[in-house]
């Protein structure tokens, strides 16, 4: 077998080994992480799970920071304004 192919075998051996070691470690860490999360915050986890069914979590956890605020609040505000105006106009037409 030539040097080139040997280099390839070498690469494959170490490479594949590394990939497996990495993902085995990741399995372990993930299980550890999930266990800790589930042990130390069972109620919170449940609450959040429900939350994520009921509504988009982003909605509840939305930041109120400067950059974020305008785009949503304003839209919301504009919609409300439009709806209010429409209702008002409609009412005035009824009177």
């Amino acid at each position: 077998m030539s040097d080139l192919v040997l280099a390839g075998l070498n690469l494959a051996l170490y490479g594949m080994g590394f990939v497996f070691v990495f993902l085995l470690l990741l399995v372990g860490l993930t299980i550890l992480m999930s266990t800790l999360v589930r042990r130390f915050s069972p109620t919170i986890a449940v609450a959040q799970r429900q939350n994520s069914n009921g509504q988009k979590p982003g909605g509840a956890r939305r930041s109120s920071s400067k950059v974020e605020a305008p785009s949503l609040d304003q839209d919301q505000g504009r919609l409300i304004a439009v709806v209010s105006a429409a209702i008002k106009q409609h009412r005035s037409g009824l009177d």
Binding site: S2, L4, V5, A7, G8, L9, L11, A12, Y14, G15, M16, F18, V19, F20, V21, F22, L23, L24, L25, L26, V27, L29, T30, I31, M33, S34, V37, R38, S41, I44, A45, V46, Q48, R49, N51, S52, K56, P57, G58, A60, R61, R62, S63, E68, S71
Partner: protein, 376 residues
Amino acid sequence: MNQLVELWQSTGLYQIEADQFLMLVISGLLLYLAISKKFEPLLLLPIGFGGLLANIPGVDIAVGQGILAQFYAIGLQTTIFPLLIFLGVGAMTDFGPLLANPKTLLLGAAAQFGIFATVIGALLLSDLGLFEFSVRQAAAIGIIGGADGPTAIYVAGILAPELLGAIAVAAYSYMALVPLIQPPIMRALTTEKERRIEMTQLRAVSQREKILFPLVLLVLVGLVIPSAAPLLGMFCLGNLMKESGVVDRLSKTAQNALINIVTIMLGLAVGSKLVADQFLVPETLGIMALGIVAFSIGTASGVLMAKVMNAFSTNKVNPLIGAAGVSAVPMAARVANKLGIEANPHNFLLMHAMGPNVAGVIGSAVAAGVLIQIVG
């Protein structure tokens, strides 16, 4: 009159050469596959169109100060484009199924054997004198077996930019062909009984786990294989932006405007490598052949790994989902689901297969890091 002659000599018709014409046909074929056959059109349409532009004679589009050459310099030489794509893909990825069943990560590891087997294969072909692939080139070709477009482009851009065009085309074409390539291999390696295995429903995963996972992954990458950190780092950032729920507007932009803009430019930049003198070389045929081998071996090793896991565990997995470990999200998971339903109409494997599917993305990125580390 001289001016008329000059104008005529400036036409493409006067200047075109046979190999440019052939490249135009090949680019047209890519467009046909993208549009009519819906082969990964998001990438193959701009790549194919970039190929057309790159082979128009008499004007610098893919070289010099041409716009495709500039996109290449701005985004591929710098690795910025594939990394931004990874950011967006991370923001689209749901690790829920993986977190519900972490051992499916191992299926994503096994399927990467396609990468390394192909590296050996490429070097064997060189040894036989059929091609002259260097070790760096062999590594870049192997990554096609990762079944992950941006990873392949990232690695090829670093290890073997001269093969980038062929590698990207092979990667995306075969990703589109997953529904044809995988089923016969999956059927051959599993019994009817195995394909009928039903899996228990996945547990609910809390938001906190989903937030912590990309951080755990990043820390592990940083400690174990730093060369995979740019790729997996951007991937984890995208995922964290999505799962944290506190930067929704950033996450949405990463999933839409940003990834779309980058996809257009990335496709055109890859297309700039479809010039005749770089693409019409024997190596391209070797790459296309090795690429399909890589996909096949990856599929097989994923399935076999699932069977090995079943031998050691009472909580059986359906070996079909092992095939999803090659990446090619979400196509490979759909293929597994389809074969599962064929064998057993009550067998919904889609969510189960999403675990190994996203594990395959992590696996390929780790393999990419190892290759860059060792031969880069």
